[in-house]
Symmetry: C2
Subunit: 394 residues, 2 copies
C-alpha cells in the first residue's frame, strides 16, 4: 500500500526550527542574556475573568449527574451558535445560527475544510501567507497559484482575470503583513469569485484588532459574499484562546457550487467526522460574546495595540516602510538597506538581542521584510523598540 | 467549481433520525409515558473527582500570567503523552511517548487519519460497524469491501486471502456487537495485514470494559502489530468524556508503507492542520491515568457492567443468543422468532416502552439483531430487563 504521496512534495518547514536553533546557539554563546521575543504569534495575557468564571461553572456542571453534558451537537451548541450569530448581527451582518459552526480553532478548520472541495482543485494563495495554507493544499494534491504581493500594492493584491482558481484564500487583517482589505477592494474579490465560480476561504482570525471603522471585519459585510464565501474565525488572538481552543466557521445557507450545498455538506462532514466541541470550552467561549466578556477582551487587545504603537513610533522615527500595526497584531517592516530577511534576523539577534520573524518564511516575496508580533509584554516591547531605534538611526 | 462529488454517494443516515421520530410520535400519542432508553451510546455518569479537580486547576492556570498556557505542542503535551505511554507499559506494551498523539477524540481522529492514505484506497470494513467508518471512506472516494459477520463466527470474522485491502478497520471490543477478538484471532489479522502490505486501524475505544484477562486491550499486545497498525483510543466511554473530548492515537515509529514513515507523516499532518488540544482538557485527561483516577473511573465502569449483567441475566433466562456484555458496554441480541430489527424496535417501544437500536442501522447483516447499551441508569436498566423477560417469556 502506498500512502499519501503528496506528503513527499511538502517542503520542510525550516522557519521556526531555524529561529529556534539560532536563538539557542546565541544563548549558549551568551549565557544569561535576556532575549526580547518579538517573533511569537502566541498571546501572553491570560484568559479574561468572564471566560474563567464560565469555564469553572462548566467544569462543575460536568461533576454532577443532573447537569452533566455528554455528546454535544456536532455543529456546535445552540447557545454558542446563537451568541456568535448575534455578534455578527451587531455589525449588521445577519446570520442564522445554523450558518455558524463551532470549531476547535481556525488552524484545525483550515485543514479540515478542504474536504468539501474534493480532488484536483486549483487554489489561489496570496503571499506572503500563513504557511499552513500552502502545506494543507500540497497534502491534498491541489495545484497552487501563488499570488505575490509587495510594496507596489501595499500587500493587497487585486484579482487577475486571466487566472481560474477554484478556491481563493484571503486573510484580512493579514498574517504576516497586517494589511487589511477595504470594502471596495474586497468587493472586487467577491465579484471575481462569483464570476469564476470559485469559493473564497476568508480567514478573519484577526478581525477584533480592526480600529478603522470603515474596514470590514467580516467578508459578509460585502454584497455577494453569501454566494461565494466561507469565513473561518478564531478566538485565539481575540480572547487569548491559543492554548484553550475554540473557534467558529460561517457557511451561508445559500452557498452552492456544482449543484451541491456547501452548508449541508459541512453538516454531513461534521456529523460523520466529529462528535462536537467540548461542552466546557463552548461554555467558556460563550462568555467572550457577552457585554462583560467583550469589555474584558478589548482591555487585553488594547495592551497589544499599545505594543503596536511603540513599534510603529520607532519605525516612523526611522523612516522605515511598514504595513500593519493599526488594525492587526502584526507589523511587517522593510529590512533597511536592502538587507535580506535572515541577515536582518541575525543582526537584530546579535546586536540588540531582539528576535523577530524573517519574512522569507511566509513565501519568496516576503524576503527583504521582517515581522514583529505585538503579543509580547509591554516592557519587552518598549525595550525592543528603543534598541531598534538606537541600532538603525543614521 | 465542482465540490467533493463523493458526498453525493453518501446514503442518508436514517438510523438515529428514525429512532427519534418514532419515539417522538409515541410520546405524542402517549403523553406522560416514561421511556426506558437503552439505545443511547452516551454515558450517564458525571466525570470523576480526580478529573474535575485537575480541570479546575487547569482553568485557574489559564487565569494567571505566570501559569497561563498558550499554544500547546501539536501532537500533545508531554505530560499526557508520557502518562498514556506508561498506561500501556503497565500492560506490557512498550511505547515511546512520541508514538502517542493526543486527539480531540476517536471520532475526530477516525475521520482525520484517512489523510495519511491518500487516494483510491481499498478499505475493508467488518460489519455490523460504526456507520462513520463507511461514511468517511465514501467521502474520501475509497472502495469499500464490506465483510459481513454473524452467529456462525460469533461476529468475529477471519481474514480472506483472496481479498487485497489497503486499510482494514477492526473495532474490538466491538460497537455494536460487543464481540472481542482473542489474541490468536487478532494475530491472524496482524499477519494478514503484514502479508498484504495493509494498515490496520484498530479502534480500541472500549478496551477499558474488558474483564477477561486473556483478551488483548491493545493490538500492540500482538507480535507484528507495530509493523502494520494504528490504534485509535478514546476517553469517552472509559472516563465519561463524550461531551468533554479527549482521546489518543498510537502510531509506532517503525510503521512504514511505500517507503514513507506514517508516524512522521502524522507529525507533519498535526503540525500543519492543528494547533494542539486544549491545555485544560489535556490536564483533565491526565488525571484519568493516575492511580486515583483509574480507581474512580473503574467505579463508574462497574456501574455500567452491573447494567450489562442485568440485561444478560434477562437474555439468559429467555434463552436468547447474544454477544457482548462481558467485555463491552454493548449487548447484541438476536431478535426472537426471526423478527426483523425495526419490527422488534416497534414491539419494544409499543409494548414495554423500551428504546434500543435496530441492528440494521449498522449494516445489512445486522438486520435481525438489536443493540442494547449499558450506559443508562441502573434503575431504568433493571426495569427494562424485567419488562423484557415478561414480554418474551413463553
Amino acid at each position: 500500500m502506498t500512502p499519501n504521496t503528496n506528503y513527499a512534495n511538502l517542503k520542510d518547514s525550516y522557519l521556526f526550527y531555524n529561529i529556534a536553533q539560532k536563538t539557542k546557539k546565541y544563548l549558549e554563546e551568551h549565557p544569561g542574556t535576556k532575549l526580547l521575543r518579538m517573533g511569537i504569534g502566541d498571546v501572553s495575557l491570560p484568559l479574561c475573568d468572564a471566560v474563567i468564571k464560565k469555564l469553572h461553572e462548566a467544569v462543575d456542571d460536568q461533576s454532577e449527574k443532573g447537569s452533566f453534558h455528554g455528546y454535544m451537537p456536532e455543529c456546535g451548541a445552540d447557545f454558542l451558535r446563537e451568541a456568535i450569530a448575534e455578534y455578527y448581527g451587531k455589525r449588521g451582518v445577519k446570520l442564522s445560527s445554523d450558518e455558524v459552526f463551532v470549531s476547535s480553532g481556525a488552524s484545525d478548520e483550515l485543514g479540515d475544510i478542504l474536504d468539501l472541495f474534493g480532488r484536483d482543485k486549483t487554489v489561489m494563495i496570496m503571499e506572503p501567507a500563513y504557511p499552513a495554507y500552502v502545506d494543507a493544499n500540497v497534502m491534498a494534491g491541489n495545484t497552487i497559484i501563488h499570488i505575490p504581493s509587495g510594496m507596489e500594492n501595499d500587500f493587497l493584491p487585486s484579482p487577475d482575470d486571466s487566472l481560474n482558481p477554484d478556491v481563493i484564500y484571503i486573510c484580512s487583517p493579514n498574517n504576516p503583513t497586517g494589511a487589511v482589505f477595504g470594502k471596495e477592494a474586497l468587493k472586487e474579490w467577491v465579484d471575481y469569485a462569483n464570476k469564476k465560480d470559485a469559493v473564497i476561504i476568508f480567514d478573519a482570525a484577526y478581525e477584533a484588532f480592526i480600529e478603522d471603522n470603515s474596514l470590514p471585519h467580516s467578508i459578509f459585510e460585502i454584497d455577494g459574499a453569501r454566494a461565494c464565501a466561507i469565513e473561518i474565525c478564531s478566538l485565539s488572538k481575540t480572547a487569548g484562546f491559543t492554548g484553550t481552543r475554540c473557534g467558529y466557521t460561517v457557511i451561508p445557507s445559500e452557498l452552492t457550487r456544482g449543484g451541491m450545498n456547501l452548508n449541508s455538506m459541512w453538516v454531513r462532514n461534521r456529523t460523520t467526522k466529529t462528535n462536537g466541541i467540548s461542552y466546557i470550552l463552548q461554555k467558556g467561549a460563550s462568555a467572550v460574546f457577552t457585554d462583560e466578556g467583550q469589555k474584558q477582551i478589548h482591555r487585553n487587545i488594547d495592551v497589544y495595540k499599545e505594543n503596536a504603537r511603540m513599534l510603529m513610533r520607532a519605525l516612523d522615527e526611522l523612516g522605515i516602510y511598514y504595513t500593519g500595526g493599526h488594525n492587526a497584531p502584526y507589523i511587517w517592516m522593510k529590512c533597511p538597506d536592502g538587507c535580506d530577511s535572515w541577515t536582518f534576523f541575525d543582526k537584530l539577534l546579535n546586536e540588540i538581542q531582539v528576535v523577530g520573524t524573517p519574512g522569507e518564511g511566509f513565501g519568496k516575496c516576503g524576503d527583504g521584510y521582517f515581522r514583529f508580533s505585538t503579543f509580547s509584554s509591554p516592557e519587552d516591547t518598549m525595550e525592543a523598540a528603543s534598541r531598534l531605534v538606537k541600532l538603525l538611526k543614521k
